[in-house]
Symmetry: C6
Subunit: 76 residues, 6 copies
């Protein structure tokens, strides 16, 4: 199983970097709970709870901070 | 769907950077829960709960840390 | 509405930087819940709950990390 | 009211820096809930709840990260 | 007991760095609750709760930020 | 009471740095709740709750980020 898609933090754009941050966050959930059926059962309640959504967005924000730093914030 | 509006973290001012941080946080919630109707139904309870508001502000603070670093803190 | 008072992260002193961090955190709550009456109604419960106060202080700590970095920690 | 004691993040030692981090965290709680009597009433429950203590320690950890960076980690 | 496997934060790839972040997070839980039987009993409930999974992923994100910085984001 | 054992963030190895991070986190809990008997009473419930353990591990992750930065990630 790949925890980091394409095994790199480098992306061409901020948009791709954000998508990578979301994927990285999801892959780790998959590593902790490898049963896709269980994850699927958890999804409805979680995707319909504002605090759960905020918590998920929080993790993406942290992953994105790392990806953005890796890419020198795509400044150039 | 655009996760990062205008596909850049660079803004002219701190004010614009903060607005971007808020938008980035919201776009990710939209990516996790793409159904706008569901998001709309969640909003009243969440916007009227102090802890939910604090949690949302927490995420914006983290996004802003990234945007501010990307802009060298608009030091001039 | 101003999300970042005076549109700068630069302050003369750590004390002013901390006050700015508190203000920035509050302005974002105001952006998410623009109804001042609702915010006023939420305040008593929140200001009398230890965990809510800790959560609010947590957000200020993160905002301050950004403001302090912007000011090179006022190292002088 | 002073939010940052002595209006500086610079301390002679890590020990003093950690004490400063604790004080900074407390001063902000005092700014949000200025009524010392209320804070005193909240303390027993909070100081006897493991999760509340962990949450308070969490905030101190973030404040300390800022103070430590300000002092170049007292490397010299 | 080793808290940091191989006693280094340096890894050859982002994938290995992410796996290290997960291991570091787990080793610390093991240090706080050394009884493997207790940890095993806690696992089913935790691995079937969306918010618990998000919280665990959150910790991994923070550990990974450190590992990624240690490796200069494997830019080279 | 020492908040930072040996009054330094510098350690010889990542393993020692991680152990320091755990100790720093604990010392602050001790500063907030100085009664060792109370802390001892809180421990069983907390060490047997997955979310409490994750929250404690979260704080250690943040302390470790600071210790690791202080040591330039023990790169050399």
């Amino acid at each position: 199983m790949a925890l980091i898609p394409d095994n790199t933090l480098i992306t061409a754009t901020p948009e791709e970097g954000r998508a990578l941050a979301i994927m990285i966050a999801r892959k780790t959930i998959g590593a902790i709970q490898p049963d896709a059926e269980v994850r699927g059962e958890l999804r409805p309640a979680y995707a319909n709870d504002a605090d759960s959504l905020t918590a998920a967005g929080h993790v993406v924000a942290i992953e994105f901070a790392t990806v953005a730093a890796a890419n020198n914030y795509w400044r150039g």
